[in-house]
Amino acid sequence: MEVKSEASGPKATRVKTEPRVNSENQTYKLRAKNIDVFYGDFQAIHDISLDIIDNSITAFIGPSGCGKSTFLRLFNRMNDYIDGFSMNGQILLEGQDIYDPSVNVEELRKKIGMVFQKPNPFPKSIFENVAYGLRIQGIKDKDFIEQRVVESLKQATLFEEVKDDLDKQALALSGGQQQRLCMARTLAVKPSVLLMDEPTSALDPISTAKIEELITELKKKYTIAIVTHNMQQAGRISDNTVFLYMGKLVEYGDTQKIFTNPEKDRTQNYITGRFG
């Protein structure tokens, strides 16, 4: 569907935007090819193809209902649980089609972890929350589990705050700490991709800053895709930005370019708050 341009600013001479590659060694971690997604008769995603570069942060922006979260959930097959979900196209993780019938979904989710909008720790101790993924994998070696829990809590920059209270109820932590705990829980199973669906929307500015710092740090080891409604956040932390509108890809490119001189009028109107 083509929507009339709502540009109120002058027409800028725009150059085509491309995803930014930070080094020559980077490759495409995830590739989406001609993706259509349907919920029953409703088509939520229309023929989107895009590649996500490894060790980078890719932000998904767009108005509510544009398909950002649906698209993100494709990468760890979370949509499979939704009634009426069907799709066309391919999602490749390191060249492997993750929707191939031979793929073990649990194994896939070890590789692609996810953090949600609301922190969702289990009603267990801090230690057990982080150890959970390892335990369901059947790992019983206590020393190994303890070492991995500490390592993950350190990676999530939470260890110093909780090291004396690892047996404390996770639900007693603050919202920001709970979210970092959820990140530690995700990191404990050593994924290579992290999906984040508005991970800071329920947090105060200080907790948000800590999570953003953490995300930027995690980029060195992981490929990160984040859905956010916060334009400044997308600008601050991401290398590349994907703008979706009504299930279609409007623009995908270097974040700096998208936020200074976007190629499409619709992107400009959205990021400047003139629609959406």
Binding site: S8, G9, P10, K11, A12, T13, R14, M231, Q232, G235, F259, T260, N261, P262, Q268, I271, T272, G273, R274
Partner: protein, 229 residues
Amino acid sequence: MANLDNEIKLLKDNILELMFLVKNQLEKGSKALDQFDEELAHEITANEKRVDSLELTIDRDCENLLALHNPVAVDLRFVMASFKINSDLERIGDHANSIAKYILDFGKAMDKETIQKMKVDEMYAVSLKMMSNIFNAFITEDTKLARKVFKLDKRLNEINREVSGLTTELIQEDVEQTQNYLYLFSIVRKLERVGDLTKNIAEELIFYIEAKVLKHQKMKSQNNNSSDS
């Protein structure tokens, strides 16, 4: 959003007001010199306070827009351009004020023939044309019009160079008129600076409208797409 649009409109209106005021200051200077109108020269120096006050208002507008509205893309470029245009306009105002002070200091009418010989009238005509171009380019967001300023600035630079040698010759020919020549030469230098500042404004307008950076680029590429004024 309506709020951001309102703030941007307010900023635009204030920049326009400052442009109009500064252009007026230059025009008055031209008349005051031509007719040795001391009252008009005093008016210019009195208006300098209005220029300064408007500059402070625009600075505050820009600061508020950045702090409270976090503008991006075209809005951010507009605020950045406005911030610099504001400073350039204030400096043009300063030059207009200095010229008014020269006229008052000299204390009598300057020789019209010398004014023409030293091309002060042409300098005024060209710099006022440049001001008109950026004024209209700002209103209509017409970068073609803004680009015409580059060629005009080149003319001001040429006159400035010519007059530099000419002043030495004139002084050698008639030492008694030295003060007259030096005052006129100072006015030429001020108008040459006005040209540079107006050119900066044109570059900022192009940055805002086309997202192109022209600063520190050679004349040839600046004049790209421009035609004679």
